[in-house]
Symmetry: D2
């Protein structure tokens, strides 16, 4: 089953209704896009794991660091406690602080949280400084609160939107992408959804087709002009009942999906995967009346199908971002072309992989 | 050689001139203390590894996570690249964003940094919410820039100052503490300096003497009233020529010093050690004219004396914080008593460890 | 409540019946001691987490690496899957292979395991080469199977026995030690038991008393003759219902207990903590008829008392090893004196800590 | 430049003379193949980083754990000290002990090592139990010493040889594979060589072509018969002057190469990358007459080309193993077919990737 509108089919598993992270029930996505004047090309994207009070009902979570040249906020507490208690916020490198402040404000303002004095906000970023006046730090706390307020389920807007407004991927315009995979009912029928903020380089492959090489645009093809640096934030949601250790294993597989697009996790990349489970039975109450936490989770032996789903959904989410993004001009007149669809389709046809 | 004014002697190695992190040549410390009205009891403390442009001349660095229930910013890039390129900033839990913004502003404003679009700011925190109106987020970017501007070498102000203004340690008033150790000339004569922001609990021991037990104030002594939660930020500097892997090993030993004070790294602790080397020869230029990075560093086999120094300096820095801090009343009229010096001296005498 | 026969009392929590790892119900310990001729001074110690088929009923487990200069077998599978499926075997550095072979033979021979083709054997070691002809690799697979067969509950033989036969600790004769702590009923009444193989150095403190310094025997006291190198294997068992992430946190606290004895985790140390839970409800069946694994475990918020128990039990287990070990002469006539009990008692009295 | 005999071209960088790990000067590879009777189908492969005494002249090294369901010996010391001091030995899962013993014997026997009492042996494994009577533990210490003695530079024998004798990959006959990549002179001209022991599954892709899907043989294609379990050991050598942290980064990229072949690092996989640098200037002497270790290494900023080389060499080494391996029948009459070359070539032609 192909993604609607995509000229390729990736992997062997089917996707969900929206082919997006929102196919995991309850997950909501919100964007705030900032395009102002000649040089503001940035924004924020938030992912809400469920519709309730995230601080009072935390979700099991894990982070995998593909390459740590980034400013991810919140990682050590996720690793220590195995949960997330705030929205997951994506923005640009120099506006992580706005994300933290917005997350705190959002949390403190909820009425059950009036006594809260500590909350771990998760903020990821990529560097949109080629198109965006990143030194201006244009994303405000209020912008991010707008993105939270805009969060909804259903189809996910992709491409030059939210935190992907000004990003660059494999030398083409990047942005936000999303995809999902659904396991067969006999394997539990679980969904894995992924959302990516693509801003990295390497040697682009689309469904294994050497598109970057064919287009003559790839890392080292021209030693002066093709830095592979940049980053990819990957957020993975699943409704499979998993605790942190299993989620960390899924997160690592998402990074394998990035590898399949030709990403190389270059020295300057901040490549992180944040994975969480939305299954109601594994949530962690902030304060519980119970003495013990009773959970029913998948055995290690049953995780491999989810691994495949994580790889495929991530690979496709990245490719979807490229197909969705549009040519953009920004700071200093810098211009980044969208992936040339017609040329790409020709290449896909050449390699017999055109499957619209 | 005892620390001036301290009633105990800890360990077997001598300390440096100031018995402080500033005994490591070039390291500067600055505080901004906020005591306003009835309920603002907070602040910031910054540590500058050297007097130059930190972004252009990065220092090798590592982080050890004792317990990760904290909001440390900047950790993954330190781990990936093995360096620090900004001041190390300490403040309260909900003002980490102010720290990040201040660090960015400080970096972007330096004239060699006019093209910089990405910088990794290191901000640690502990939760001063018992004495301070932490939800008010009173520490501003400007406050932290003030602390940076105030940074100097020489004696370090300790106790209720800067980021330690409102902290609590073992149920007594905590705060900033510092100490150092110097190796014998035959072992290289290197200095290890430590600065701590103490806000944690357990079963207090001073130089091995069971002070917490004698005072009847310790974790589990009264199951309702003695949470051990809280955090300890530990910053360790050395002039020994070390790269990141060796610094990570030193950082882990600093945590062993915390253990010796009776800290238990409770569930709710954010206990981190940030270690860096100031040796000029190991600095990492942001952009280098050289093809290779030539360094001359200590062999693994020669690190054990530095390990001992790290343990001792950390243990003593924590104890120094307790001796320096003074009784404080803050938010909601909450009052935390200073460590009762006279009673403590009696206890030290009882156990034959009084060594003024 | 003091340990029987010990001249000091460590910590604030009571110990269990045997003040040993076997206070955790179901845990069994077996030794095989090899003292032959002038230069064989070695052996093996095994810990069985429960009395059943460990491969078919795995226990949740974690490992913390204090300092990784050691040859621990089995670590990555414990980390990946969060369980142990074999006895935990301790022996000398160059006989780890004998331990692996014995563990495999033991596992393959059990009748439910006739189809087993892969099993992860956990073998730790310390280096007894000062007293023992370690290059001779005298511990055989059969010796280790003897230790497994000898495993029993109840009091644990300590000192110069099993894997501790030839070890050295703080310059005195080390060996096997064990201790336990029991939480108050109101906190669950759980037991934490620890067994250590002590072979390391530093600046010895007993219950905080500077024994090493008083005896003039400590790291750096004489720069030529006092290497702190060596290792400490720590095995921690608990009946608290915990999965791997919580056990890893307990394991880290055990290392804090080592710090309190004055250990410095020197460059040449292989310091590892292996922690497991024996609670029947958290066991992992090798193959399950169920789709989901239902467990009821402690919340993170309730772990701190167990942390304190882990610290105290480890500290005391190390001290117990020193008090139990006896003077030994071995390879090349090398002689290691036992801790001089009378002198130590005098020192404890001097510091008012003599509590027989 | 294609590999001789390979029907595809992978990546954008050229390979070295032998398209093998031995293109890194000084690296030697040795095999011992055991094919006896109906059910012994196993062996050992060893990689020697240089031709001298490895214990006396250690090489900087790192390990990346892709999935830790394996029995790798020696990992923690590599991680702690950043070096390897023994041959790297590959064999089957239940013969790791033979590998350790052989490594110890080899080391102790060298005349400069007569006082050595501790050595860290690196042994990796995959499970050849489908074709081989693995429970018989047929690989002996002597067999592994034979492999060490057989080690040589030049072309590397691949396929059903040494530790790859009985392995299975993507449902076809796996085995040993090797490949290399060489950077342009302007980027230093460094070589990266990889050797793999392939025994894993997933959804096979060759140069991005969906071969597994076309052949109808892939994970989940038939839910009963297609477990993806198994493992991949990856050994990476480079002559670039790198210390352990950079080597760990390269090791992680090798795992990305595995991802590109369609491997999913299934639950039951033991996927590890062992990376070392052979550059003479970064070697670590066991005992040095110098006070400091002077090294000249690449800057982080210059690593990305090596990352690409590591990805490509690993991807191709795995594919080379599949093309080199031949159909084999073993234990219980179990038979594993070689990759059907003609069918694969047809598929490659279908997708326009046939490049002999």
């Amino acid at each position: 089953v192909p993604a609607p509108g995509s000229p390729v089919r990736i992997g062997v598993l089917p996707h969900g209704t929206y082919n997006a992270i929102t196919d995991v029930a309850g997950v909501r996505v919100g964007h705030k896009t900032l395009i102002r004047g000649a040089s503001v090309r940035t924004g924020a994207t938030v992912i809400l794991p469920h519709g309730g009070n995230l601080f009072q009902e935390k979700v099991p979570a894990a982070v995998y660091v593909g390459n740590g040249f980034g400013k991810l906020a919140g990682i050590t507490q996720i690793k220590e406690l195995g949960n997330i208690e705030s929205p997951v916020i994506l923005t640009n490198t120099l506006n992580v602080a706005a994300g933290i402040n917005a997350g705190i404000s959002y949390t403190l303002a909820q009425k059950e949280n009036q006594q809260v004095q500590s909350v771990n906000i998760v903020v990821g970023e990529t560097n949109d400084g080629y198109l965006n006046d990143i030194r201006g730090r244009h994303v405000t706390e209020e912008d991010i609160l707008d993105a939270i307020r805009a969060a909804r389920s259903g189809a996910v807007e992709q491409g030059n939107t939210g935190a992907g407004t000004g990003t660059v991927c494999f030398g083409f315009k990047g942005g936000i992408g999303s995809a999902s995979r659904v396991l067969p009912k006999t394997l539990g029928g679980y969904t894995v959804g992924v959302l990516v903020q693509t801003n990295f380089g390497g040697v682009l492959e689309i469904a294994g087709v050497p598109v970057g090489k064919e287009l003559g645009r790839y890392f080292l093809s021209d030693q002066l002009n093709n830095p592979a640096d940049g980053s990819c934030m990957i957020v993975l949601a699943t409704d499979a009942p998993l605790l942190a250790p299993s989620l960390e294993r899924l997160a690592k597989r998402a990074f394998m999906g990035l590898a399949k697009t030709g990403g190389i996790a270059s020295n300057g990349s901040g490549d992180y995967v944040i994975a969480f489970s939305t299954h109601p039975s594994v949530r962690i109450p902030h304060r519980s009346g119970d003495t013990l936490h009773t959970t029913a989770t998948l055995f290690n032996d049953d995780l491999s199908p989810l691994f495949l789903a994580a790889i495929e959904a991530t690979e496709e989410a990245i490719i979807n971002a490229l197909f969705a993004a549009k040519t953009m001009t920004g700071r200093n007149g810098n211009k980044i072309e969208a992936l040339p669809k017609e040329a790409v389709i020709s290449i896909l046809k050449k390699y017999n992989r055109y499957q619209p």
